[in-house]
């Protein structure tokens, strides 16, 4: 499990400090697919880099902690690893698929050599190159990828194929946590479906945890178990995926889901007016207040806390706190 406690990740820039992620807390359990949803500038990519343990200047951990708790398979011993040590466990317990990763492979190195690069020289000597490559080839075939992909250069494969290869490389060592940042953006719908279903079946087989970042709510609906919704650097709602879509409680989640056009449904849809606040100087109160249909004067002054309003359903909204009237968009009859 990964425990994220009151984490704030800021960037030092010429114009000032950008508070990309502020005071975020939640947990990632074993054996689930968690979707992190939000739009441009909400901080999801920054948070993922932080969770992965890849915090480098100008980004820094302003406060809070991220811990990885693992249980040793042999002796059942529990070990708590702090974020600063995560890099020791890259490609063992943690693996990361960055955004636009189809473009990050070294164009002059063959796939099989890039794969071998993820092992230390010592390990390669211990196991022997051939053993490792054979194991990789077998794994690729399990994923219905042609084995001769290993001998190819990245540019010889299509974008979709490259992405599938990267997913294979990242999951080959069966890490406990796989973080994928927008793994299917810029890919065709059919290829996207293939990759997402591949991720889902990999997760079912290995029983590990996938954290998937995407701005596409449809993708979350299809394969995630639980969702974390972010807005302007804060977490605004956490719940099981089916609950998020059936009964969103945070006004942003509500308005976002309502704005999405559905095939076969011609109902009038409206986008949210306005735009997210600047993170150089975030507002004192709720960051969504100026675009929210429920907001009142208090909302712009007081920062809402993330509270568990139903078992497993967390919402950060003053108007949804126990004791306030629970009116939804539907009940208001507002489109």
């Amino acid at each position: 499990m990964i425990r994220i406690k009151n984490v704030s990740l800021f960037y030092d820039t010429v114009q000032g400090t950008v508070k990309a992620v502020e005071d975020v807390s939640f947990e990632l359990y074993d054996g689930e697919i968690v979707g992190v949803a939000g739009e441009s500038g909400c901080g999801k990519s920054t948070l993922m880099k932080g969770i992965y343990g890849n915090i480098e200047r100008p980004m820094y951990l302003a406060h809070g902690s991220i811990e990885l708790e693992v249980e040793d398979e042999q002796d059942g011993r529990r070990e708590v690893i702090p974020n600063s040590e995560f890099h020791r466990y890259w490609w063992k317990h943690l693996s990361y698929i960055p955004q636009a990763s189809m473009s990050v492979m070294n164009p002059v190195v063959r796939i099989k050599d890039q794969f071998l690069d993820s092992y230390s020289l010592q390990e390669v000597r211990n196991y022997g190159k051939k053993v490792l490559i054979d194991a990789m080839a077998a794994y690729l075939q399990e994923l219905e990828l042609p084995a001769d992909v290993l001998n190819a250069y990245p540019h010889q494969l299509s974008g979709g194929m490259r992405q599938r290869v990267i997913v294979a490389l990242a999951t080959f060592v069966q890490p406990k946590f796989v973080i994928a940042d927008e793994p299917t953006t810029a890919l065709d719908v059919v290829v996207q479906r293939g990759i997402l279903t591949m991720l889902r079946s990999l997760q079912k087989k290995a029983g590990n945890t996938f954290v998937m970042v995407s701005h596409d709510m449809g993708v979350h609906y299809q394969i995630t178990d639980r969702m974390v919704i972010m807005y302007a650097g804060k977490v605004v709602e956490i719940a099981r995926t089916d609950v998020i879509f059936a009964r969103p409680l945070h006004p942003y989640t509500e308005m976002l889901i309502r704005s999405l056009p559905r095939l076969g449904d011609n109902a009038e849809r409206a986008g949210i007016t306005g735009r997210p606040p600047s993170l150089l100087n975030p507002p004192r109160g709720c960051r969504f207040a100026d675009r929210c249909y429920l907001a009142d004067a208090r909302c712009s002054q007081v920062q809402p806390e993330l509270l568990e309003l139903e078992p497993g359903h967390f919402v950060a909204c003053l108007k949804r706190e126990p004791g306030s009237a629970m009116i939804t968009l539907e009940e208001m009859g507002v489109a």
Partner: protein, 327 residues
Amino acid sequence: MSDKFLEIQAVTKIYRTGGLLASTKLTAVDQVTLALDKGKAQILSIVGESGSGKTTLARMVLRLILPTSGEIVVDGIRASGTLTRAQVKEFRRKVQPIFQNPFESFSARKTVDTYLFETARNVWGAKNKQEAHAAVDQALVNVGLSAERVIGRYPNQFSGGELQRVSVARAIIPHPELLVADEPVSMIDASLRMNVVNLFKKLRDEFNINILYITHDLSTAYYVSDLIAIMYRGNIVEYGPATTVLTQPAHPYTELLLDSVAKIGEKWSELVRMPDMETKEYGYVGCKFAGRCPYVRDICRQVKPPLVKTEDGREVLCFKLTDYQVP
């Protein structure tokens, strides 16, 4: 005089890559025929994935690329040929583009209003500052923006959705009759998309502007289009009224697309066959979709599929509808 506003007749675009001795031929657009009637404006969506040829087709309509063969005629003007200066001016007044990336559509070194004023002066024909200002103000109001919010600002001071609306404002200043929008909302956040998509509906209904809406997103295409053309590797495989095509797909590729969309409300079932290397598919002798089609028969691989006109007003490029016989 033709009763058609836009006519795309058997347009083909072939790219040659490689050197003198060994070159490969890539048919990006293959014998595409489409038309829009005069009169009531319509939104025609061209839906396809990457490599379908939809962007190439759009750029040919905009005169940014010339077809290898075939004709494109917009309200009497032969867009696919050489035009006189006067004809180019006329064309620009009638046909305007909206590109995918709003931040690339404006120079980062200039304020966005310079493009608006240029359009007002050069394309619409404003005779003086007041007329130009009036035209720009009106266009901004029509897209839901205010002049004071826009004038004097640089592109990086807007969000993607707002900047795209500025693009639309610029495009409607000369009162065009056709807007060619190439993936206009794919780079905009989901919650801001509908602001732009609804704007297209308004332009069609209130200003009678035809819109050629190029996209890979079926949901927005369904929401906004009257007509829809599905493209695959350069061919239009299905064409017809949007509701019919997207709720009762006739072509196997349309079926596959609809199945694969990450929909909210319906979960996927099993894995689906992945596409082959793109370049190979372009070179198929028969139907280009044969390699992936669940209904494929031998004839599909050997002979080009026929264009079948159905009773409900559609055109489908498939042997399935002729019982796998050559008509």
